[in-house]
Subunit: 386 residues, 2 copies
Amino acid sequence: MSGFPFFSSRWVEPPAGVEELDPAQLAPGFAAGAVACGLKPSGKTDAAVVTATSERCDSALLLTPNASAAAPVRLCRESCDTGAIRAAAVKAGNANASTGEQGMRDSVAIQRAAAEGLGLEPAGVAVAATGKIGEALPMDKVLEGIRGAAARVRPDGGAELAEAIMTTDAFAKRCTVRCDGVTLSAQAKGAGMIQPGFATMLCFAQTDALLEDPEPVLRSAVEGSFERITVDGQMSTNDTVLLQASGESGRPLPAGLLDAVLLQLALLIVADGEGSTRVGCARVREAASGEEAERAARAIANSPLVKTALFGRDPNWGRIAQAAGMALAGEELEDLGPDHIDAAEFESEEAEVELSVRLGRGEAAAHVWFSDLGYEYVRINAEYTT
Amino acid sequence: MSGFPFFSSRWVEPPAGVEELDPAQLAPGFAAGAVACGLKPSGKTDAAVVTATSERCDSALLLTPNASAAAPVRLCRESCDTGAIRAAAVKAGNANASTGEQGMRDSVAIQRAAAEGLGLEPAGVAVAATGKIGEALPMDKVLEGIRGAAARVRPDGGAELAEAIMTTDAFAKRCTVRCDGVTLSAQAKGAGMIQPGFATMLCFAQTDALLEDPEPVLRSAVEGSFERITVDGQMSTNDTVLLQASGESGRPLPAGLLDAVLLQLALLIVADGEGSTRVGCARVREAASGEEAERAARAIANSPLVKTALFGRDPNWGRIAQAAGMALAGEELEDLGPDHIDAAEFESEEAEVELSVRLGRGEAAAHVWFSDLGYEYVRINAEYTT
């Protein structure tokens, strides 16, 4: 879990010729910096800024649809020009969620402080947060932290950005890769869809590719990665993914590069899931439609019975048949037996295993990655106290 | 958990004047018997029959909609006259699920054997099962068991029926109650929506009330009880609820009696949930619609974060806000804070506690009962091996 080599999962196929660089080094045209402002009791860095230094910056921003979204997410929804975000201001240790009007005022102040420090318009600055819910921010410290981070941004600030956004993460999740003359750097955090006391998956990605319409590219990569993982089936209040493109390389983004990077980051999040010991992939085939295949795959991946079976090295196909049948309640389904379900890999000691189900209803397929469920999950989530 | 007094939950309000009788004694017009045929490794009783002895018998039968339903459920769907079921043949220890065509043939043979033993038409005999999935039935033993059970049915066979249908249940769940000259007896099993290696909630209820159209009465009682509980969010492949009415009392079923009995049985199932230490009730108020209230209540009740918080005595309202927000993804929702959410009872040591959420969107309300999630759940489900 040192993060090197970055591309380590059996499920990730990076484009041919991809090269891994020092993850501290951001893609050309970007800079980042982080400081400790006192939100994390450990005293570690917890306020960070990432910004474009290039003339041009195209961007795409994806936010959680959770109706209890945190103040920074609400502010981004309301006030950001999502196609032209030059910078993001992030804090870790306090999610600024369920904090009402005061939380919104605080987010506005943070956005303004970052904009001032970087010489930008507020609408060009996204705000993100992760940490405890329902606690007021110590705003003097936070504003000082965001200003300090803005003052120390530098091109090799990728590693400190990745560290500053960690909360209960066991390891930092970041990379810088190069392919066909284009550099892509990315930093993510998350150890569960939602963490003890609070939430969140965050991801920042920067590239010097020329990318005039980054939104569909980001959306497609997220659909194949962060949207296909589950630790506890819980949607966060703070999830935020930001892609920025400086265009400095003058080249297009190599096909599959962003997909491979986000998928590897997503799998690192599952592997770092609370108390997780291994990652499973639920593959559903022969479904009547893609929607049906996905519904069945999610039901299997979120079943605590399948998750405990993964933990217990138990190729329990009966639980998989039950979960698939629940997802298809009311439909006609063949009696699913060992001929339809293969969970033999559960018995292995591999860290990444697959199960597959044939529904015998059509041609569609879908897959979802998930963590196992063991004692550590209960310990982490039951013993944490607000 | 001795089962006496039967009405023990704060959430159950039996009709005034209700009297609890010996649960071995079935309602007038019914008889039951059980034997051990060797399905349970423990050697305990595992084959049972309950039958009407009265001239008249009106009935209603509710079955799981799971698309991977077990053979006995499929057979009931296809061949039973659900309004005129005089008897049920049940086995515990083998669910006869995911057993293909052979499983269907075996269910037909069991139905016929019970019908012959009782002198009934096969269409008047329901078949039910609970236990391991995907294992062929030792049919010689099972047929001998069903015939033996049919031969020993007697009016005071309620307790042995309740014991024979247990699998991982820690205690039997049954009662016989009398109110306004009407007797109602009921037997249920279940310790989780689904159990290690396999499934199932079963419930048999008998009354001497005159009940010409039992289906809506049963459906309403089930909607307020078994449909409002969750242990692990998993829908079983074998769930079966049968209500039979002999009419021998010549009186109508007292209002609320069946509802109270089924609700108490449902709460006993949650309390007996795998590794469960306490029962929670998630109450959602001020929703825009009943459907919305129910969706939010279910999301809260099924959230592993809320369930571990219940186990850990942690009044973690942030997790409740997150789960409600997830259920309402994409909708407008006030920022839910301590003014909206009350989880103070989580801190108590009570076995039955409530949480409530006001969504501030309308007048509708809903509630769902759920078990906590602790180490025992993981131990039971991870260490069980097929």
